[in-house]
């Protein structure tokens, strides 16, 4: 009997700890009929908190701003914040809670494809809307999800093109963290490079576990791979946290950006804020937005952000811009539809166009992805990016990669009468809502 009591005490302690972490999340409880609720589904604890906390803050700022302008359809907007704690199954649970209990009109959230795949069935079942703000591997199009981050052809492929044309790169290291986004992106990149005549010997693919910190061997092997007499570059899909030791090791082993440039798809201003950036100067990143972009819209956004967070050192980054675009699109679509009913808003979304922060307009396409400009930046000593190249206009997303066997014949078009996320143009059949 005594041992059971001790067991319970142990469990009690753990539960208390977990409860303590979830109490800390601000939860809007007030409920009135004349408000429109918006769900925010970003991790505020656990490994992903590093990236997602900022997105929660930017959503609160945007909602606050809209309320100051008089709200939406004569009602005030109200944010409902939940904390999925970097726990993939919990994402689905919290999403269901937002939709069925809190009855939100739309959800802004998720980071990493695993979390999105985990909530996808919930949104498709309930018919609600999710705005996903992060670059991802493509190969998906759901009726209920609006992808405001970049597809591979809006980030990875232009970056490779830039290196081929400007740095005359002939040999490629594709290094990534071992999960779905890097694996799919690298599969697409490998097929793309081969289609451009790069030999299999000139491509090295390397996967690293999450949070890897001992890079000595891998950096040494990159150095060795790069000494075959051909210009070499590293295309990095290494996930946020592991980047710091990676770049440190590069700098320490004397690999400079002028010798072997590294182009990264997951390193932004936010990640660089925690590193000594001097050894990184000249390494590249590919995004659709940089904080250093000089135009009035961006300057106003940055000023508003710094004032809202009361921290003059806070940086802005690409996924924040994606939420900015997504939120404004949703506002416009609701105004167009005259209701917040998700089914009607989904139909109203396609074709909506709003200003982005890089000085142009982004439009929602029938495949539920948005048009974006692609920017290549070099890391500066102050942790900001120096735009060295950009597409002349915006790029339309290829949700189904034309370079992969399984997806090259597929298209997504959610307008009636097609209304399909994976329509096969060869067989003329719709494969279902999503794959």
């Amino acid at each position: 009997m005594a041992s059971i009591r001790h067991w319970l005490r142990g469990i009690g302690l753990v539960t208390a700890a977990v409860a303590a972490t979830s109490i800390m999340t601000p939860q809007a409880q007030a409920q009135t009929a004349d408000t429109i609720k918006i769900g925010i589904l970003h991790s505020l604890s656990g490994t992903m908190a590093i990236s997602e906390t900022t997105l929660k803050d930017v959503m609160l700022m945007l909602i606050d701003e809209q309320n100051k302008k008089g709200g939406l359809l004569g009602k005030k907007l109200q944010a409902v914040v939940v904390d999925p704690a970097s726990n993939w199954p919990l994402f689905a649970e919290k999403a269901r809670q937002l939709i069925t209990v809190d009855k939100v009109a739309a959800v802004f959230g998720c980071w990493t494809s695993v979390s999105r795949k985990s909530v996808l069935p919930v949104f498709e079942e309930t018919g609600n809307i999710l705005f996903y703000p992060v670059q991802y591997e493509g190969e998906e199009s759901s009726k209920n999800v609006f992808y405001t981050g970049a597809a591979p052809n809006q980030q990875a492929i232009p970056a490779v093109d830039y290196l081929m044309a400007n740095e005359k790169v002939k040999r490629w290291v594709l290094a990534g963290t071992d999960y779905v986004y890097p694996r799919t992106t690298n599969k697409i990149l490998e097929a793309y490079l081969k289609s451009k005549g790069v030999a299999a010997d000139d491509i090295m693919i390397n996967y690293i576990p999450f949070g890897h910190s001992d890079w000595q061997n891998i950096v040494a092997s990159i150095k060795k791979f790069g000494s075959a007499g051909k210009k070499t570059a590293v295309v990095s899909t290494i996930n946020g946290d592991a980047n710091v030791p990676f770049y440190k090791e590069l700098g320490n082993q004397g690999i400079k950006a002028t010798d072997i440039p590294v182009v990264a798809f997951s390193v932004g201003e936010e990640e660089l804020a925690g590193i000594d950036t001097k050894p990184l100067v000249g390494h590249l990143t590919a995004w659709n937005y940089f904080e250093s972009i000089n135009n009035p819209a961006n300057k106003a956004f940055i000023a508003q952000w710094k004032a809202y967070t009361k921290n003059p050192k806070r940086t802005t980054n690409d996924p924040m811009e994606a939420h900015y675009i997504g939120f404004n699109m949703w506002i416009k679509a609701v105004q167009k539809a005259g209701t917040t009913d998700p089914a009607k808003v989904i139909d109203a979304m396609v074709g909506i166009s709003v200003p982005n922060l890089t000085g142009g307009y982004s439009a929602m396409m029938p495949n539920h992805h948005i048009t974006k400009p692609v920017l290549i930046g070099e890391i500066r000593a102050d942790g900001q990016m120096n735009t060295v190249w950009q597409t002349s206009g915006t790029v339309v997303a290829n949700e189904w990669s034309p370079y992969l066997e399984g997806s090259k014949d597929l298209i997504a078009d959610w307008r009636a009468p097609l209304s399909c996320g994976n329509f096969n143009v060869v067989t003329g059949k719709c494969g279902g809502a999503s794959k």
């Binding site: 590093i50 007499g229 710091v244 925690g274 000249g282």
Partner: protein, 525 residues
């Protein structure tokens, strides 16, 4: 029509006027990276006195273009005109535009500085210049290089210059086959990855040169193969020393006391955050101390983590002795609480812990690159383990700790305050973890999740080495490190880790008490 003609004449008249103000400097203010690179190369060859300071300023991102077409260098006291070197007053900073830099421009800068600095005053400056020339391989530099070699007094620098000359010769279209063959021999003698890279690019030369290059390449590659074995051992020792540091504290709390402490990683994390705090204070109050920040952080991290360890022992663990399952759950919960507490206090973002100058960079041992920060950690790990053993072996506290863990009741009967010793032992283990945190802050992210990455590895090391045996911990950490580094190139980082885990499980199946089990009656109980 007449009007147009007048315009044309005016333009033609105006053109020479523009050309007069055009000089090697003008192109630097261009928007086009190719034009900037070309301007830098032209400027370096122009022989202008101001060329060197201007190009150095581009390297430091301190060259600005003013709206009136003048170029200004930002220096400590104020702005200086790049063309004349004269100070400029009344600069409106908002109007200045930095000269644009990308990797192409940086390469042009490196090459230009190489040619400019070949006659620098210090041997070190000349050596760096020659190394830059080796990489840029610009045949236009050959005459200057010959002059520099003739004038060089330092033997070592002359060798580097000869190598640079050979590299440039291979890129020279006018060189004869004999000259090229001689150059290949020089490059072969140099060895290393840069030489391999250069030799690998010679496939489309004349057959004689290409053959010599291919032969040299095979010889170098064979040598490289040997070195890569040495490299795996050294990298393994380095990884092993990190594991050793992370596990040394656990060897005390788990190994000696038998407490399954899942919050051990968080003690490491707290040590790393202590380093961050120390550096913050130093940056704000006493920047000159920065190089010594880690020496200050080590004892402080020991005290902070050790103190928290004692509090945890007194407040939680002492109620749970002899109940491993509850300890496991309670300390795991505690680790979550500590993580979230740090996250609330410092934010979820990584904190920037700087690396002192003396720990940056690397040294070459033959074909192996060893970074100074890793080298320092190896030394530090050995020192920590030695100190820990000395404490246990030679101090009164160590004697009491061993007495209590071997036979608690007998020790109590001899007048030792066993609860107090328990607290101190746990504090010692936690303090060691804190010191490990100082070292890990140099190679890993300082974030609330820092500790999670090391907890499993630490338990692996202690169990594999034999619970309660510090020598076992040492041997097991180094073994795991080296095995890991030999598997990594073959199997990849992910599979390598899995293999190590499988091997470990098989080993534990055969020897459940690890490599060096403790013997004696105390263990049997």
């Amino acid at each position: 029509m007449n009007f147009l003609r007048t315009c044309l004449v005016l333009i033609l008249l105006a053109a020479p006027a523009f050309a007069q103000t055009e000089d090697a400097f003008t192109g630097l203010a261009s928007n086009d990276f190719d034009a900037i690179s070309a301007a830098i190369t032209a400027l370096a060859l122009s022989g202008d006195k101001q060329a060197s300071p201007t190009i150095h300023a581009i390297q430091d991102e301190a060259l600005y273009a003013a709206p009136d077409g003048s170029l200004l260098i930002k220096t400590e006291p104020g702005y200086v005109d790049a063309r004349t070197g004269a100070p400029v007053a009344d600069v409106v900073e908002d109007d200045l535009v930095g000269v644009r830099v990308n990797n192409k421009v940086r390469r042009a800068v490196d090459a230009a500085l190489g040619s400019l600095d070949l006659f620098a005053a210090t041997p070190d400056g000349r050596r760096k210049a020659a190394e830059a020339v080796f990489l840029s391989r610009d045949p236009a530099i050959l005459p200057a290089l010959s002059k520099a070699i003739a004038a060089e007094t330092n033997d070592r620098v002359r060798v580097v210059m000869r190598q640079a000359q050979a590299a440039s010769q291979l890129a020279n279209p006018d060189a004869t086959d004999a000259e090229r063959l001689a150059a290949v021999a020089v490059i072969r003698a140099k060895g290393g990855l840069e030489a391999q890279s250069l030799l690998g690019s010679l496939r489309d030369q004349t057959p004689a040169v290409a053959n010599a290059a291919a032969e040299a390449l095979t010889a170098l590659a064979r040598l490289q193969q040997l070195w890569s074995l040495v490299q795996s051992v050294i990298y393994g020792l380095s990884l092993g020393s990190v594991l050793l540091l992370a596990a040394a504290g656990l060897a005390i709390t788990f190994g000696v006391m038998g407490v399954i402490n899942m919050a051990h990683g968080e003690m490491v994390m707290i040590g790393a955050y202590t380093t961050f705090m120390v550096q913050e204070v130093i940056r704000a109050r006493a920047p000159f101390l920065f190089e010594a920040s880690l020496f200050i952080a080590v004892p402080l991290a020991f005290l902070v983590s050790g103190g928290i360890g004692i509090v945890i022992e007194r407040g939680l663990i002492r109620f749970l002795y002899g109940r491993p399952l509850e300890t496991l759950l309670a300390t795991w919960g505690l680790s979550l609480v500590l993580q979230q507490a740090v996250r609330s206090l410092f934010g979820a973002n990584n904190r920037d812990v700087g690396t002192p100058q003396w720990m940056s960079g690397a040294t070459e041992w033959g074909g192996v690159t060893v970074t100074y920060n890793r080298l320092t950690i190896v030394v530090f790990a050995v020192l920590v383990l030695a100190a820990l053993m000395a404490v246990l072996r030679y101090t009164a506290l160590g004697l009491r700790m061993r007495a209590v863990t071997q036979n608690r009741r007998m020790a109590a009967a001899m007048g030792i305050r066993t609860p107090w010793i328990d607290a101190l032992t746990f504090g010692l283990g936690s303090g060691i973890a804190g010191m490990a945190g100082v070292a890990l802050s140099q190679i890993d992210n300082v974030s609330p999740n820092l500790g999670q990455g090391y907890i499993i590895d630490s338990f692996m090391v202690v169990v594999f080495g034999g619970v309660g045996n510090l020598w076992g911990t040492l041997v097991s950490a180094l073994t795991l490190g080296i095995v890991n580094k030999f598997l990594e190139p073959i199997a990849g980082a992910v599979l390598g880790k899995i293999f190590v885990l499988v091997l470990l499980i098989l080993f534990i199946q055969r020897k459940p008490r690890g490599m060096f089990p403790l013997k004696g009656r105390a263990v049997e109980q």
